[in-house]
Symmetry: D2
Subunit: 344 residues, 4 copies
């Protein structure tokens, strides 16, 4: 059994990791920590876990020492120190935050306003988009788990960009996220009476996931990609849907696009490519590690429209983190992750 | 007092008209009809109206005969007959359906699969986007009340297109609508347990409002506009938000755009242009006739991003219909329409 | 025009008062105050009010000095001082808090943990349940506006208790409130992701409205009433519904009960007694000052079941406060309060 | 592996059974049927199941013939025939409908308006409330799976009634259910725009679960129980909460009650008795087979207040059905049922 630990176990990504790891057949949830709630049990904070996860919350160092793999779900700027200790201790780190995602330290510093991790650590890190970079993930000890929006977008565009079917430039990404993406912290715009029956965009063309998206899309396209990215906040708990608009290259048909997607994803168990004519909906992937993708064309305007949806807390955070653990520890990618989305 | 009647008073647009007309200081709700519920009272169907609107539902002919102005909220293909009778009777028709919106009968027939109204009637009709075409509305007896999506888009883009600040081509419109847009009719995708905690697009690049949007944007731009339009269904009751992406013309700054909007809308009481830096949200216009617009630029990609939001049942249907009645009958546009959106 | 002011205008009851007073034909919103947001405008806090209520928030003393009537929507323990200044200034006070509701200072101190207002002020105060105590309300300068739960319960039981049709003892009140009852303050249990898709009771048999309910029911019954009161928190913004279970007195039929309700409420415009066989629903009174009541019997167990529903922010707070202003200033009770509940 | 089949697999209880059985380690979902969708696959109806449950829907007879155990999730009046065929075929029947729940055929006929199953079959049936009647369930071939409301109430009151701590008479049960309890069938009151932001009771003192509740409580109390039962419809997808009010017997303290519950439930893995001072909430049991119970006293009125909450589709339907299969086939009760409720 893999000894797994969580640093920051009481945040939303943390507690979702708890839920997944507790039922994982090859891992054992060994230690959990929380700065805010040290000394309490997980079920004190989340009554849903009563009788299930009565572990006592300890400190981060303890988690690193006791575990083979540590998941860090902490605010930006904190992971460097955790990574250093993990490397010293021979512990694999799967970092759910952004500190190790961006290859260029300058870009990180511009968007996050923090100093990037030192080069010695940063250069060991692998961007953990499981479907795209499994080989590298298997061979590293610092895995930078992707952001939720970037996961939905990269999976939604990978076959089109890899095969040169759409322009890498002028891509419009209109994303909508459930409210758990904003975390457990109280804010006026996540106060029930103010979000309920409301909807709108935020951080328009200014969200920190923008450079992460462009970094991955550029790798896929083999040249600089440029996107306009606008996230919106949905009055639902879970899920992200990205509606992506890209210019079809001259002469490319929807059928060709569909074939490229089918080929790339046919052996990837968590990507469900919908038949042409069907439309992906956030409802159908909740509480699961699936990414549902549907493809559409606007022939009149020469656009490919991709609808890509995931559960932001599963494939967009805790689920993909466990998928990366599976890859890193030589398990089947699906191990412990075949949660079936509820029909309602 | 203007004698006002409603044909199709038990649909969602119809009952919203009831609510607005009952408190209008210069109009009197004189007659209402319904094919499905003839002989019953409005409050039999909508218990919220108990003691307020106990009018008995009659037939359409009776409504036309008794009224100075008739609002028709009926399915596609039925309004031609109503229009003919209104013309004969000297009654003003405000049609909330699509039959008279499209100038080109061929386009109507392609998208709606019905025969367009005869030329004699169609040529009398004026497209009733109150802010843009008030002079013509004041002078006609057949007003084609705009669709909800087209209203949000046209108001969102008018100053930019009229002033040549953005390209009329390659416009991406990502719209999201509350569920009342789908009406009172029962469908699986509006069944509570299936829409709740769900979200997704529908009729991608195939929604009937597409030609209506292009018709208006082309008039505004003075040349053919081309859009990609994707509507989504939100798990909220009311409201539409359109996030619109247009290419800024060479050298145009956000400030210039803002000034053009301010100039065009400064005397239009229902358009609220938000200060730069603020973002429109559907929450803030519910139950009101306002259209809130915020402007944003993605300089990196050369895009203007407009967020335009209305209550789909008010400014997107019943409210704008009454605004058009006000224009046609020489009242102030705001008469009976200054409903304040609730804060929660 | 009555000069009206609000102390505590940025809380949920305060901003609902703003919305109602701005459209009141006989009152003018003259001054508003807020401790937290002094110097800002109302629309800075509530963007829904942009262009509608751009008043600057001042301090409480200024509001008292400028106005004929002051609405106080402040936390417990603060109203005594406001009342003293209002009396000195000749200003009518309508207090939306609890400080003046309980006749017995001991009971207040036990439940609220604060010192009750001095006798000279407390004895001037009238409990402002408009339908039941209009004569006294018209003759006082300190009106204690009732709590939301007590309003729904007192109107729901008044005819039954006044006419001795049910036992005043052993009454079970199972109430459910929308989340705006908890106010604008951020708390974990009103955080969207934690309330959404959740539901449960709170302060079981320990809510501060219990003594207020018993005080009114005892007056109505002419003897000590005893209730078990359990409030629940609903994942909706607005509305309270109380399902009340009382023992029918020997031989009393549902028809007799219905007749007593009809008689008592026939001239009260805001109480809508539903016909036997219909059931009240919170959906039908939202955004209005109505109280909908339906009556049911469980003959098998000898119980009368009353369902009583109001909008907690209107009839349960701001609406009833304005109704009390109308009574106090000799206007029709309905003046400015005939908002029609939306059908959806 | 147990061969399991579902008759009526496309209703809400049916599809929830699919979800549970597909991950059950000792059962294999062998055949499914549907009258409405015969010939289609499950994932045609529920896109969430794409790639997971692509079984083709057949007919009921085929399901019976192929399986060791059949779950029937069909409308009232149909199970008798299924039961007869199961008995002939040696197949265990777990009936999720009401036909076999009531021991007295007269009571069934009065409340359901159908002829009760013949005595030879009815007498074989055991009421499948797993925690209370496991011994009998293990020994029969016709298991009448309890209704959702009755499950929440019986577990909520069993220790109090078995130990004579409360009166079996004059019990008030105020229950609230998520909308999936109303099933997949379209109705106006489950139409999104009409249920959303609404709430109210239905079938007051007239719900068909009333005799089922009284039957079980009478068995537990050892004498005739009498209840007033009022269900309400909540705008959430999943979950039932029952707030139960019972008269404490003379001299009984809350602590005594708590001890009785602790004793009865200490070895029952699906009942989570909350510590005194905590309150059960529907949010914490969603998607799980748990029943959370909290205990409260109103000393002032001499009442015990029990809050009992389950997921109506799991412990209230499909989960308990599988728990009964486990009991009947000699597996651990928890086998395949340890789903952890999500924290959000």
């Amino acid at each position: 059994m893999i000894k797994a630990g969580i640093i920051g176990a009481t945040g939303y990504a943390g507690v979702e990791l708890v839920r997944i790891l507790l039922t994982h057949p090859e891992a054992e949830l060994t230690a959990v920590s929380s700065v805010s709630f040290e000394g309490q049990t997980l079920s004190d904070i989340y009554p849903s876990l009563r009788g299930i996860a009565d572990l006592i919350l300890g400190d981060a160092d303890e988690v690193i020492q006791k575990c083979d793999v540590v998941f860090a779900a902490v605010p930006a700027g904190i992971s460097e120190d955790i990574a250093r200790k993990c490397v010293q201790n021979g512990t694999v780190l799967i970092d759910l935050g952004a500190d190790f995602r961006l290859e260029d330290p300058q870009v990180y510093e511009t968007w996050y306003g923090k100093t990037a991790p030192e080069e010695a650590l940063l250069s060991r890190a692998v961007y953990g988009l499981s479907e795209l970079f499994a080989d590298k993930i298997a061979a590293t000890d610092i895995i930078a788990n992707p952001g939720c929006y970037p996961t939905s977008v990269a999976l939604g565009l990978a076959p089109a960009l890899c095969n040169g079917l759409v322009s890498a430039d002028r891509i419009v990404i209109d994303s909508k996220s459930g409210v758990t993406g904003a975390g457990r912290k109280l804010t006026q715009n996540t106060h029930y009476a103010e979000l309920n029956e409301g909807f709108g965009p935020y951080k328009i063309a200014a969200h920190r996931h923008t450079p992460e998206i462009e970094q991955t899309l550029s790798i896929l396209a083999g040249k600089a990609a440029r996107v306009t990215f606008v996230p919106h906040l949905l009055p639902v708990n879970r899920g992200i849907i990205s509606t992506v608009y890209a210019d079809l290259c001259e002469g490319v048909t929807l059928e060709q696009v569909y074939n490229a997607y089918q080929k790339m994803y046919e052996n990837m168990p968590f990507v469900r490519l919908l038949p042409l004519g069907k439309t992906a909906n956030l409802h159908d992937v909740r509480c699961s590690n699936y990414c549902d993708i549907s493809l559409h064309a606007d022939e009149h305007a020469g656009k490919l429209i991709v609808v890509s949806t995931i559960d932001n807390m599963v494939k967009g955070a805790a689920g993909q983190a466990v998928q990366n653990m599976n890859i890193r520890f030589g398990l089947k990618q699906t191990c412990g992750l075949m949660m079936i989305p509820p029909a309602f």
